[in-house]
């Protein structure tokens, strides 16, 4: 990767951090760095709200209009929702990680801002049990409605007998 592009990524990271801090306070950011030469920012679910999401999407210098992917991740002590943002006009990337607790994982829904989040969020709810506050139709999408539990959780117990595998 050329030095010029690396500088651009570093500048972008600084801009993003400043924007988030000016909105949500100096201690809003848990971690921020370049991950494989692309900005990565970690925040808590209490900081992540509609207003901040709107800044990411509409701010002149950011313009993250394309939401590539939303994934839920289960860790031992917490859960994360990871957003992959891309700006088509500015050719910028951002990996945003939102931390939430494991007992009652909950993150705001960004469907109002990026319609594409709709099914990604339903999938994360279905497989990991993360609640997306404000989602208009947070129901299971891949598994049947009667399914018990959330298979992608690390402590999910696979009952082979019930699944007809034993």
């Amino acid at each position: 990767m050329s030095e010029q592009l690396l500088n651009k990524a570093e500048q972008l990271l600084t801009t993003i951090v400043e924007k988030i801090q000016s909105k949500a306070g100096a201690d809003a950011i848990i971690d921020s760095k370049l991950n494989f030469n692309r900005p990565m920012v970690v925040i808590d679910t209490s900081v992540w709200d509609n207003e901040l999401a709107t800044i990411l999407r509409n701010d002149e210098q950011l313009q993250f209009d394309f939401l590539s992917c939303v994934s839920g991740v289960d860790y031992d002590n917490h859960m994360e929702v990871v957003y992959q943002f891309y700006s088509i006009p500015l050719d910028n990337y951002l990996m945003l990680k939102v931390k939430t607790n494991r007992q009652e994982p909950s993150v705001i829904s960004v469907k109002q801002l990026w319609n594409t989040a709709d099914w990604h969020e339903r999938e994360a709810f279905d497989l990991l049990g993360i609640r997306f506050e404000g989602h208009p139709n947070l129901t299971r999408i891949l598994l049947q409605d009667e399914w018990v539990g959330h298979p992608l959780r690390k402590d999910y117990n696979i009952d082979k007998e019930e699944l007809g595998l034993d």
Binding site: N35, D65, S68, C69, G72, Q84, M95, L152
Partner: protein, 368 residues
């Protein structure tokens, strides 16, 4: 005088020939107008992401074949590329060329299937035979290259499994030439046909804003004026070495998607020809020196590639062991059909199949 109508529910699928798999659409219609459409998916859900957590990095390659099974080469690639990036593996030149050639051949084969089956859905039976005749020549090449017609598992972490057998590259060149001629028949047979134009022009229009908002990618987005192709905007492999156009249309209707895909076939043929010209200079091994046990350092990465349906992404988290901690697959078909409820509302029921067919989905990928 107004005609009295009443709402009724029409259940399309899950077993319906035009859904190309098991996809269900619950449609509420009033007369002939669609009031509400609700997609129901998951019939083919195999829990690929869960399975990945209990497999080694290499063992997961065959599972990627079964996502979008019409475009398995790109699936192979995006998985191998993700692991390579995480481990910092440099792929040898020759392997990169073989990868590009096989991926582009696969893109063409995938678009052929779309072209044939889409017209079949519209009621034109003979195009299907032309499309499958041409697709067969590509599948024959794949059989010679790796022994499989669809589920290739041709790529490995660090390169590819087999070098091109002797004479294979010349055969590819001959096939490219043959296909370029054959595609002319497609235009003669279908493109200018008046009935076809009536069924597709101005039907199922997606605006540029809608396309970006709903995260659409690939030919579906490019038909709506989104000038974006990962091969050019975020080049991976060696795509920056080739000269090719990205077809873009602004109409956003089904016909525009048709035009974009046909033009993409021609551009892919161009890329293959350039790769064939350059591959002779790349006489390196076909796989990098990779440790016997694949154990990427702890870390997290998102990579993407331009599959025949759109942006295929992998979000991979490694905890430093031999198995991935978490894999999230961003399947383009899954994202592209999200827009259906909005797109179908207010449409005539007769256009439903044309609109759904125009998006080009593979259910193996939707349900993962």
């Amino acid at each position: 005088m107004s005609i009295r109508t009443e709402e009724m529910i029409l259940n399309v699928g899950p077993q319906h020939p035009s859904t190309h798999g098991v996809f269900r659409l619950v449609v509420k219609i009033d007369g002939e107008v669609i009031q509400e459409a609700t997609p129901v998916i998951g019939y083919l859900h195999r829990g690929t992401e869960k399975l990945a957590e209990d497999l080694t990095y290499t063992q997961f390659i065959p599972y990627t074949d079964r996502l979008d099974y019409l475009n398995a080469m790109t699936n192979n690639y995006v998985w191998c590329n993700t692991v390579e990036q995480l481990m910092g593996i440099q792929v040898p030149e020759r392997a990169e060329y073989l990868r590009v050639i096989s991926m582009e051949l696969n893109r063409i084969a995938s678009h052929f299937v779309w072209w044939g089956t889409f017209l079949l859905d519209l009621g034109a039976l003979s195009p299907f035979l032309y499309a499958f005749r041409d697709r067969e020549t590509i599948l024959d090449l794949f059989v010679k290259l790796c022994g499989a017609r669809m589920t290739f598992s041709y790529m490995r972490i660090g390169g590819v499994r087999f070098d091109a057998p002797s004479g294979w590259l010349d055969e590819v060149r001959a096939v490219v030439k043959e296909l370029r001629e054959n595609i002319k028949e497609y235009d003669v047979l279908v493109t200018g046909n008046e009935i076809f134009q009536h069924r597709t022009r101005g039907v199922g229009v997606i605006t540029k804003e809608q396309a970006i908002d709903w995260g659409l990618s690939g030919p579906v987005a490019r038909a709506s004026g989104v000038d974006f192709d990962i091969r050019r905007n975020d080049p991976y492999s060696i795509y920056d070495r080739f000269d090719f156009d990205i077809p873009v249309r602004t109409e956003g209707d089904v016909y525009a998607k048709y035009e974009v895909r046909l033009e993409e076939i021609r551009q892919s043929l161009c890329i293959i020809e350039q790769a064939l010209d350059q591959i002779d200079k790349a006489e390196s091994p076909i796989i990098a020196k990779v440790p016997k046990i694949i154990k990427p350092p702890a870390g997290e990465i998102y990579t993407r590639a331009e599959a025949s349906k759109g942006e295929l992404g992998v979000h991979l988290i490694s905890d430093g062991t031999t198995k991935p901690y978490r894999v999230k697959l961003r399947r383009p078909s899954f994202v592209n059909i999200e827009i259906l409820p909005e797109l179908l509302k207010g449409e005539n029921i007769a256009n439903l199949i044309a609109i759904f067919g125009g998006i080009d989905v593979v259910l193996g990928e939707v349900d993962a």
